[in-house]
């Protein structure tokens, strides 16, 4: 088991290195482009050349790369072109907001989908199962920006219950909590279908397994069969995949943040992309990949821990 985790750790580091090289090459291989981005496109060539010289861009590329990585590891991603503040400060604020939104969504989605998935999987083929399955397909078919449109139409314009944007101008606080309702709803609706169907499939498979048959034919009460024999085995796969899916959740969060002007990581990245704020883009991409890779590692460790067949071999 330790060996497996070690192996994953090495792989994770390799992926981070590769990603950092790719990002660096994409954005900073062309020095003049960097200068034009920083000094705006109306700067003259001379200005750009001087800027390059002053900021050490005339050193060989590997040196610049290692310096960039070294600074990044210490949390220094340079200065935002757009806001003229350190990128790390921007990141800190926005990431916190995103963590609130993402955490809330993850918690609600997982709760709903585990319950629905198990309910649907233990009665495979029943009308309850079919109903839940169709609902799950239906909601996964409506992308976030479409469902956000529809929900805004209903809850903002028609019923006038909720605000249509979530800027949190006073920072996150309890008084504005209704601003969170729509973004959370949008994300939960889009994501719970996939989780539910996965839980359902896993549960249905376990319910037809021979060891569940053994448990039933041992004369155990139905509740014991489900709780002790089926659930544990059925939830291993969904649990790990749900964590793996953090990656996809993050994608959705970005779109939703843009839609509702929620000051999170996604909005920061999107605005940086539109503005050409390359240092922010680089930092955001690195952070996003880091989160994804970490979640993979956690998912792997969780899987080995939950599955005694791997834990003890």
């Amino acid at each position: 088991m330790l060996q497996l985790v070690g192996k994953r750790l090495v792989q994770m580091i390799l992926i981070m290195i590769t990603v950092s090289v790719l990002l660096f090459l994409s954005f900073e291989a062309d020095k003049l482009n960097v200068a034009s981005k920083v000094l705006s496109q109306y700067s003259t060539l001379d200005q750009r050349l001087i800027w390059l010289e002053n900021n050490g861009y005339n050193r060989p590329m590997p040196v610049r790369y290692f310096e960039w990585v070294w600074n990044a590891m210490r949390g220094d991603f340079g200065e935002s072109i757009q806001f003229a503040t350190p990128v790390s400060k921007l990141l800190k604020e926005h990431l916190l907001n995103t963590a609130v939104l993402g955490g809330l969504v993850f918690f609600i989605t997982v709760s709903i989908s585990l319950v629905l998935g198990v309910l649907s999987g233990i009665a495979e083929g029943s009308s309850r199962d079919r109903g839940i399955t169709v609902l799950a397909v239906l909601t996964t078919s409506i992308p976030e920006f479409a469902s956000a449109t529809i929900l805004v139409a209903i809850f903002v314009f028609w019923l006038d219950w909720l605000p249509g944007t979530s800027p949190f101008t006073n920072g996150l606080n309890w008084n504005d909590v209704n601003q969170l309702v729509l973004p959370v709803m949008v994300l939960v609706i889009y994501n719970f279908g996939y989780y539910t169907r996965m839980t359902r499939a896993s549960m249905a498979e376990v319910m037809t397994s021979q060891y569940v048959r053994t448990a039933i034919l041992k004369g155990l009460p139905h509740g014991r069969v489900i709780k002790r024999h089926a659930l544990r085995n059925a939830l291993i796969a969904p649990f790990t995949v749900m964590i793996l899916q953090l990656n996809y959740l993050l994608s959705g969060v970005i779109v939703t943040e843009v839609f509702f002007s929620y000051k999170g990581f996604g909005k920061l990245l999107y605005e940086a992309a539109m503005f050409g704020d390359i240092y922010v883009i680089e930092a955001c991409a690195m952070v996003a990949v880091f989160i994804a890779v970490m979640s993979q590692l956690i998912s792997d460790i969780g899987y080995t821990y939950l599955n005694p067949r791997i834990r003890f071999s």
Binding site: V19, L22, V137, I142, F145, S147, I150, Y248, S251, A292
Partner: protein
């Protein structure tokens, strides 16, 4: 010994066309799948025959007829069934022509991504060893990006406003739509092909242990033959289902890029862009946003339901 195996009238093996017809017949058994197929066929029909339909010009801007609600006629007594947008363009026409734009680029992107993913997956799964490790590693690198982050990075670094994009437009004289479109396809390929490869690899790893593969190896077949003739045909079932789902996802992605103003350049109708256009107008833009939102949802829903129906049928026998 007189042990010729007696076999009573078994059905003659159906020919290719008949088999296709039979499998369509099978789909009838799944109401859900059938409903999905109808939705998909509707949009495909629209996309193919949109020129022949009695629609307004989707690009024609009518002055004084901006942002009409649905079912209203403009000053020239032209009926706008779904109203008009902020430039007085007919929504219905834009929606229908948008189907063509969306389906064309998404199908193309899916085909490209799928082909590359399949090649990666089959070779990695069958060949194994260091090749598998390399392919899997490359896949893992791109799968480590949240999809939108990858798209944003690729499009900002190499998009139409980047040096490369400017060079392509100015020096190569390429059409703006073509530049954006091919970039979208590349971006989608980077994010989708590794996923396809992962699935194909899994299937191949399973099929590889079958005796008929050993039989082919034992008679000295080349790896190419084994991959193309012995392995891939047996993987087609799950792959067709997956391709349906994948196409749905690509449609969402392309619309999303449009919504984020990173997609195809205006004025071509693009469902995602249409939503973001409407969004600027708040309450008044509702009519502009709802129709394309419903269009995307119905098309993707159709594909998902179709995939579900196909899977249900393939599990049956």
């Amino acid at each position: 010994m007189s042990d010729v195996t007696a076999e009573t009238a078994a059905p003659a093996p159906p020919t290719g066309l008949k088999r296709l017809w039979k499998s369509i017949g099978l789909l009838r058994e799944s109401y859900v799948g059938m409903f999905g197929a109808v939705l998909v066929c509707f949009w495909v029909f629209i996309a193919v025959f949109v020129d022949l339909l009695p629609l307004q010009d989707p690009l024609a801007q009518t002055r004084g007829a901006q942002m009409l609600p649905m079912l209203t006629a403009d000053a020239k007594d032209v009926m706008h069934w779904m109203g008009t947008d902020d430039r007085g363009r007919d929504m219905l026409a834009r929606l229908m022509y948008g189907a063509r734009v969306v389906l064309f680029w998404s199908v193309l992107a899916t085909v490209v991504a799928y082909s590359i993913g399949m090649i990666m997956g089959v070779t990695a799964g069958y060949r194994g060893g260091w090749w598998d490790e390399i392919i899997s590693f490359i896949g893992n690198v791109f799968l480590a990006f949240p999809q939108i982050v990858l798209l944003l990075v690729i499009i900002t670094a190499f998009g139409p406003s980047s040096q490369l994009g400017i060079w392509m437009t100015n020096e190569l004289g390429l059409d703006k739509t073509l530049v954006s479109g091919s970039l979208i396809i590349i971006a989608i390929t980077f994010s989708t092909a590794p996923q396809v490869a992962r699935i194909v690899r899994g299937i191949v790893l399973d099929l590889k242990t079958r005796d008929y593969i050993a039989a082919a190896e034992v008679r000295g077949e080349s790896p190419l033959y084994i991959m193309l003739v012995e392995l891939l045909p047996n993987a087609r079932g799950p792959l067709i289902v997956d391709a349906c789902l994948r196409l749905g996802y690509v449609i969402i992605t392309i619309a999303l890029l449009g919504f984020l103003s990173l997609g195809l350049p205006p004025p071509d109708p693009d469902w995602g862009k249409m939503i973001s256009d409407g969004r600027q107008w708040g309450y008044n833009g509702l009519n502009m946003m709802l129709w394309p939102a419903l269009a995307i949802s119905s098309l993707v829903l159709g594909l998902n339901l179709l995939a579900d129906g196909l899977r249900e049928i393939s599990l049956r026998d």
